[in-house]
């Protein structure tokens, strides 16, 4: 890695760890001036950018995280008084042929809350989310959404031959945004996922992780009140995965109600509600 690349990566890693932009700039310039003086390669002096960023964040105490695999939850977004109910799911049951997938599932998510839906493969996590989004009918039960809905599928949901920013314009127009509003909103959200969407690359040529970033940005366009995210981080590298959770905390601070399907249990102490779905069993009833 050359010096420029190392410094850029460092800046990204610091930002990712929630170090404020001004301080990030100072840390990066200081490292640059040290490298200029010593003439040594950055890896020898500071080690890998991620490790150094972690050490810096750690030394700043409140703003950092000691173990980089843990996602930091900003102090400012700790649960205050509960917000109004945004998503109310009552008594959802669904069976495929004879096999019950969901049996009397309930979930209430308030503004400013994150609900995690967990369960083994085949336990009906995606089915549940699709029912919440109204893409699938349940056999029983009902869903109430107080406000507007954004949905990010596990895969698909993009248009192969369109550029990322055209997706923003398309979704934005549905939400009543102008072209430039859609583009600005899309770019802002993409930047928080460390992604520059301005290229002329058709969606079918994007890598799996980048296409999921596109999917995620599309779901958040137009500030929906409820966000349903079906394992949207597939194909994300670790850094982007951290960015993704940061984005969730931001959405939560902004008062959105979020439902996220996850099978990674190490995040569960950072969410407000956990809905565990158990794999379906053949029943005689």
């Amino acid at each position: 890695m050359n010096q420029r690349g190392w410094l850029d990566t460092l800046a990204g890693e610091l930002r990712r760890r929630g170090v404020d932009p001004e301080l990030t700039a100072h840390v990066v310039s200081e490292a640059a001036s040290h490298l200029r003086d010593s003439g040594e390669p950055p890896l020898a002096v500071f080690g890998p950018p991620g490790t150094y960023a972690a050490a810096v964040a750690d030394s700043l105490g409140t703003a950092g995280t000691a173990a980089p695999d843990r996602v930091r939850q900003p102090a400012s977004s700790r649960p205050g008084p509960p917000g109004p109910v945004r998503l109310d799911v009552r008594g959802i049951s669904k069976r495929y042929r004879r096999r019950p997938v969901l049996t009397d599932v309930n979930l209430t998510v308030r503004a400013g809350e994150i609900a995690a839906v967990v369960g083994a493969n085949g336990s009906g996590k995606s089915t549940f989310l699709r029912i919440c989004a109204g893409l699938l009918s349940p056999d029983a039960g009902q869903v109430r959404v107080y406000g507007t809905l954004g949905y990010c599928p596990q895969a698909g949901g993009t248009s192969d031959f369109l550029y990322p920013e055209e997706h923003f314009a398309l979704v934005g127009a549905g939400r009543g945004l102008s072209r430039s509003q859609s583009r600005t909103a899309g770019r802002d959200q993409a930047a928080s996922l460390d992604w520059d969407p301005s290229g002329r690359t058709q969606a079918r040529h994007l890598s799996g992780g980048t296409r999921q970033k596109l999917n995620l940005v599309m779901a958040g366009l137009g500030e929906p009140d409820v966000l349903l995210l079906d394992e949207p981080y597939q194909g994300f590298d670790r850094g982007t995965y951290l960015d993704f959770w940061q984005q969730l905390w931001r959405w939560r601070s902004a008062g959105k109600a979020i439902v996220v399907v996850t099978h990674l249990l190490n995040q569960l102490d950072r969410v407000d509600t956990v809905l565990e779905l158990t794999p379906a069993r053949e029943t005689t009833s």
């Binding site: 100072h26 840390v27 310039s29 200081e30 490292a31 001036s33 040290h34 490298l35 200029r36 003086d37 010593s38 020898a44 002096v45 500071f46 080690g47 490790t51 150094y52 050490a55 810096v56 750690d58 030394s59 700043l60 105490g61």
Partner: protein, 112 residues
Amino acid sequence: MDQERRAQWLRGVLDLCVLALLRHRESYGYELAQSLNAAGVGPIQGGTLYPVLLRLQRTGLVAAQWREGAAGPARKYYRITPVGIETLHRTAVDWDAFTSGVGVILREVQTR
């Protein structure tokens, strides 16, 4: 000397050494690293030094300022604060007591 062990020792006293070096005049990261090296405590890498400086700055023991050097680009200069001086004096006494204890024990090993 065993690098691993030296690094361990250094972790305990690096902040003290930095405070001590800043006692008489302000300095910047690279110069501090060189001074530590020259004193035989180093080599100390940037990856270890700057987080310590940041922590000292956060706890108010040093103050920092970006300034143009006499020659060359802007650098971040660190200066010890009155609180830093007080901490340095107090801790230097503690350190002295500690190392003399360690010294007594280790001297027995050497002379045997």
